[in-house]
């Protein structure tokens, strides 16, 4: 019996070490900007504080069962003096016990789980509203703002109520932001009313691990989801639902800033383009503009002059105000040691490479994308302008790509 006790002690020590290792693993996890164990906002913190105690209950039960398995296997092994065990067929009190005890533990877990579900599913009063629209393979963010005026090249003015960005969205610190995860664009009639959906994509999932769990963007559905950040900073997001070839490269960023900075950002985004693309009679305003409008038809998929419009591909009106491009995969500017962009050092060459031959940098399903584009064009992603050029379309030179990149980097 003494030897059994030492063995039991040994097993207990082993179990303790295992538990400690687990605890260590939990604490020593890194600060990578997308760690669910390092919540940076109300919702994510709510989830972690629900998860943590339940996790430890699970660890406790697991350690008990594993220890029992190990101890029984050693203690009751066949040896001289233990070859003829008592034949036990069962025990009703034990069966009832180990049915009821786990059930009671689960009831407690259930109470807290359901409480949290309903706490998180609440309606916000006057929230900042952002539509997060998943595309293959980038995110479009339509942020609702106060009405503002947009002036077209020919001077006509329209009123807009949202600003459209790609792969980066700004939010004010400490304020609840209502995300609406979607996979289709709205169809808006002349009066500004939504009449339907278009350009429906596959399912994606909006996930900023340090701010909240995942919200799938399902075609044809609205999915309301709250995020809030305690502190200014950049929070990494990932598409978390497999969405085809380049799913792994579908990153995005939530940039939280002080309410003042946020208001400044909104004002800046509401401005028209820094440089005119078209003249008043809708002709390209210069050489590089001619490349963009006519020679390579960039405007067939991208919007470059109107912060409130969306099309098949990202709105580039204020591209230079972002920190990344190509669905958050490449930095648009060099970064300092703290990771902040140095706006005086743009990554022009990389942007030019991307314009020149995007499928050479990230996997794309875009072989046929230079044919007349549209919502049902058989393509996903940015096409190459230097390779596989279809008949009747121009092939880009590296110099032309560079010119376009420089033009875009002037679009602050």
């Amino acid at each position: 019996m003494a030897s059994f006790k030492t063995k039991w002690r040994r097993s207990a020590v082993a179990a303790g070490v295992l538990a400690a290792a687990l605890a260590l693993a939990g604490c020593a996890t890194n600060n990578n900007g997308e760690n669910t164990l390092h919540p940076k906002g109300t919702e994510a913190r709510r989830i972690l504080s629900l998860f943590t105690p339940i996790f430890w209950v699970a660890v406790f039960v697991g350690v008990c069962v594993l220890t029992a398995t190990l101890v029984f296997a050693i203690k009751f092994r066949e040896r001289p003096g233990n070859t003829n065990p008592k034949q036990i067929h069962g025990s009703t009190p034990l069966e009832i016990g180990w049915t009821i005890v786990p059930a009671l533990i689960l009831v407690v877990i259930a109470v807290f789980t359901i409480k949290t579900i309903f706490q998180m599913d609440r309606t916000l009063k006057n929230p900042i509203e952002v539509q997060a629209v998943g595309k293959q393979w980038w995110w479009q963010f339509n942020t609702k703002t106060d009405p503002y005026k947009v002036t077209a090249a020919d001077g006509t003015q329209t009123t807009a109520t949202e600003i459209v960005t790609a792969n980066e969205v700004h939010i004010p610190v400490g304020k609840n932001v209502q995300i609406n995860a979607q996979a289709c664009d709205k169809v808006i009639d002349a009066k500004g009313k939504q009449t339907g959906l278009t350009n429906c994509n596959v399912i994606h999932s909006f996930w900023v691990p340090e701010l909240n769990g995942k919200a799938d963007a399902v075609p044809g559905r609205d999915h309301l989801w709250i995020i809030e950040a305690d502190k200014a900073g950049t929070y990494l997001g990932e598409c978390a639902e497999y969405c085809g070839l380049s799913h792994a490269n579908m990153h995005f960023r939530v940039i939280a800033e002080s309410p003042d900075d946020y208001a400044k950002w909104v004002k800046q985004q509401q401005k028209g383009p820094a440089q005119a693309l078209l003249t008043a009679d809708n002709k390209p305003a210069g050489n590089v503009q001619n490349l963009i409008v006519n020679k390579f038809g960039c405007v067939g998929c991208h919007v470059l002059t109107d912060p409130s419009k969306y099309a098949f591909a990202p709105n580039l009106t204020h591209l230079a105000s972002r920190t990344t491009f190509a669905s958050g995969y490449f930095d648009l500017y060099a970064r300092d040691k703290a990771g902040n962009p140095i706006y005086s050092q743009p990554n022009t060459q990389k942007l030019a490479d991307w314009i020149y031959n995007a499928p050479g940098l990230l996997p794309m399903e875009s072989k046929d994308c230079r044919l007349p584009p549209g919502p049902n064009a058989p393509c996903a992603g940015m096409p190459s302008f230097s390779q596989n050029t279809p008949k009747g379309q121009a092939t880009m030179t590296k110099d032309e790509a560079m010119q376009i990149a420089q033009y875009l980097l002037d679009q602050k």
Binding site: T29, N30, N35, L37, I47, A58, V59, V61, G62, L66, A68, T69, F72, A73, F76, E78, T83, N84, P85, K86, I88, H89, G90, S91, L94, E95, W98, T99, P102, L106, I109, I114, I117, F118, D121, C184, N201, V202, I203, W207, P209, G213, K214, A215, V218, P219, R221, H223, E238, A240, E241, Y242, L245, S246, H247, N249, D368, P378, C379, A380
Partner: protein, 641 residues
């Protein structure tokens, strides 16, 4: 001696025999494997084929782990990676897990219930051929001219999988091969499920009442019912995917009123019972192994049985826990969170009963027992991380991350595969009359246990640290490098373990220690007959008098509940029946037609993928010929006069 088949052939005597093909007669030799209707040979075919697919799926996993061994891996392209993770999942679920269970069931069910064959021998063979043809069909998509393997994930979410090819969401024919191939596999699984159900319900030996049946038989019965009811749902969903993709039927096209989420509901109404289809046979296997190697009856037999049945029923009410991030609304997710917690109760009860079985036993730590104990430990970890998923808000963080990958590998590898490997060591001597090497087996177990935990334990942490699934690469500087490297290392340790197992099986088949009829001092009827069993299984159909009938022919209990060996002889009675008796037992005759019929399936499959009418006509002709000839062929050939 009169048997059922005797009776049948008497009834059919006056009819004219129709043999469109000359009926095969051989029951041994290479070609007999193509025409056999012997449940034991079919069982071996299933297990061997499933094992080959296990190796193929394992190689896919190794490639995946090579790619993920470090940040920004360059071993695979995104397109290749997406095909490999899709095929790894599809293979391990449909081509390894399910057929391995069907193989074990095929071999063992008749032996365990004291029957001479299954209820529908030719249908049984057809089930195997449909499985093989379905598997080869799906894998043929890798051939260069087919333009790429399935790449929509094993779950094939719409509209990614279902949007017309021209939309560009998912170019290539991969998703078509996947949808059509899975329908084929479903046909095979459905026939084997029907066969198992009828066999267990109708062909038990006299005295083999329901509550005397071995737990493995019970769990296979529950599994067969789950298969029978779950597969039609996914078959319908797959046909809808095929029609959306190829014929523009728009079931899942939200732009004109279809609903992509409908597919997820259909898939998981199949998919969650599918999880239990994969785990219940494993639970059955370890419920056989634990008592034998503890020299004690299973603790709480009826509770274990009823827990299995409860899991079978409750498994239908938890599907939406795969969809907690889709925005179902607070009431729906609360309900499915609760039902998911509830299903943990009967699962926990089983674990406690297994521990109760081991407690106070005289445990022999042979390889099967090590795997069974490993099952308890690893499955418990997987079960507990499953409970964490029922905590809905937490699941919105965990779902689609490596935490989930860790969870279901603990259930399906640490659980199902460990149980199957234990079962291989346990029943191998029955099948081949020779023992597998126990020393090498113990090494295999420890190598697998270490490799398994190295691979999958770090994935819990990776998932919580934000690493999403189904991504062909991850950036450096996210702190995921070390754990991923450990996981990749572990995958190769697992590969060594599987190789050891393979070598052990191949060598032991010819050179293992002779086993005798009952090498483990077993409890159930299969140990009462010679190893390997004669073609007719039982010279004399046993009269069953107790649960663990064979054990009770060997032992009885005294007043203190201790074992007393009965005078030998009682035990011999069943085992060595009159060998001559075999000559008078009529068994169903071999047949070509299950194979012919199943050859029609992939031909039709290719016609469906490539919209080739003439190929469809050929396929239909082959199929019709096989079915018609089968229908008019009597189950048992005339004996030569």
């Amino acid at each position: 001696m009169t048997t059922v088949s005797d009776a049948i052939s008497h009834v059919e005597q006056p009819h004219q025999r129709v043999d469109l093909l000359h009926r095969p007669t051989k029951s041994t030799g290479f070609w007999s494997w193509f025409t056999t209707v012997d449940h034991k040979k079919i069982g071996i075919l299933y297990v061997v084929t499933a094992f080959v697919f296990l190796l193929v799926g394992g190689i896919e996993a190794l490639l995946i782990r090579l790619q993920l061994a470090g940040p920004n891996g360059k071993v695979l392209t995104a397109a290749m990676y997406n095909q490999l993770f899709t095929m790894h999942g599809t293979t391990m679920v449909f081509l390894m897990g399910m057929p391995l269970a069907v193989g074990f069931g095929n071999y063992l069910l008749p032996l365990m219930i004291g029957a001479r064959d299954v209820a529908f021998p030719r249908l049984n063979m057809f089930g195997y051929w449909a499985f093989l043809m379905g598997g080869l069909f799906v894998y043929s998509s890798f051939l260069p001219w087919n333009g790429g393997a399935p790449n929509a994930g094993w779950f094939g979410y719409t509209p990614l999988s279902s949007a017309p090819i021209g939309n560009g969401f998912l170019p290539g024919h991969g998703a078509d091969f996947w949808a059509v191939g899975l329908v084929m596999l479903g046909i095979g699984s459905t026939t084997s499920a029907i066969n198992f159900i009828v066999t267990v319900l109708n062909m038990r030996a006299p005295g083999m009442t329901f509550l005397r049946m071995p737990v493995f038989v019970w769990m296979m019965l529950v599994t067969a019912f789950l298969t029978l009811f779950a597969l039609p749902v996914v078959t319908a969903a797959l046909i809808m995917v095929y029609m959306d993709r190829n014929w523009g039927s728009n079931f899942f096209n939200s732009a004109i009123g279809g609903d992509p989420l409908l597919y997820q509901h259909l898939f998981w109404i199949f998919g969650h019972p599918e999880v239990y289809i994969l785990i219940l046979p494993g639970m059955g296997i370890i419920s056989e192994i634990l008592p034998v190697f503890s020299r004690k009856p299973l603790f709480g037999y009826t509770v274990v049985i009823f827990s299995g049945i409860a899991i079978g029923f409750m498994g239908w009410g938890v599907w939406a826990h795969h969809m907690f991030a889709t925005g179902l609304g607070p009431i729906a997710v609360s309900a499915f969170g609760l039902s998911t917690m509830l299903i943990a109760v009967p699962t926990g009860v089983k674990i406690f009963n297994w521990l109760g079985t081991v407690w106070g036993g005289a445990i022999r730590l042979n390889t099967p027992m090590l795997f069974a104990l490993g099952f308890i430990a690893m499955f418990t970890i997987g079960g507990l991380s499953g409970v964490l998923h029922s905590v809905v808000p937490a699941d919105t963080q965990q779902t689609d991350t490596y935490f989930v990958v860790a969870h279901f590998h603990y259930v399906l590898f640490g659980g199902t595969v460990f149980a199957f490997f234990g079962g291989l060591f346990y029943w191998f001597p029955k099948v081949y009359g020779r023992m597998m090497n126990d020393r090498l087996g113990k090494w295999t177990f420890w190598v697998l246990l270490v490799g398994f935990n190295l691979t999958f334990f770090p994935m819990h942490i990776l998932g919580l640290e934000g690493q999403p699934r189904r991504t062909y690469r991850y950036g450096s500087g996210l702190g995921w490098d070390t754990y991923n490297r450990i996981a990749s290392l572990g995958a190769f340790v697992i590969a060594i373990g599987v190789l050891l197992l393979l070598v052990n099986m191949v060598v032991s088949r010819k050179h293992g220690q002779p086993a005798g009829a009952d090498p483990w001092d077993g409890r159930t009827l299969e140990w009462s007959i010679p190893s390997p069993p004669p073609e007719f299984n039982f010279a004399e159909v046993p009269e069953v008098e107790a649960r663990d009938d064979w054990w009770h022919r060997k032992y009885t209990e005294d007043d203190r509940g201790l074992l007393v060996r009965l005078p030998s002889g009682a035990a011999e009675a069943v085992g060595h029946g009159d060998a001559e008796a075999g000559h008078h037992i009529h068994l169903p005759s071999p047949s070509y037609y299950p194979l012919v019929l199943s050859i029609g399936l992939p031909i039709l499959g290719y016609a469906a993928v490539y919209h080739t009418l003439w190929l469809g006509i050929i396929g239909a002709i082959v199929l019709t010929f096989g079915a018609y000839a089968w229908a008019i062929e009597p189950p048992t050939a005339e004996e030569p006069a």
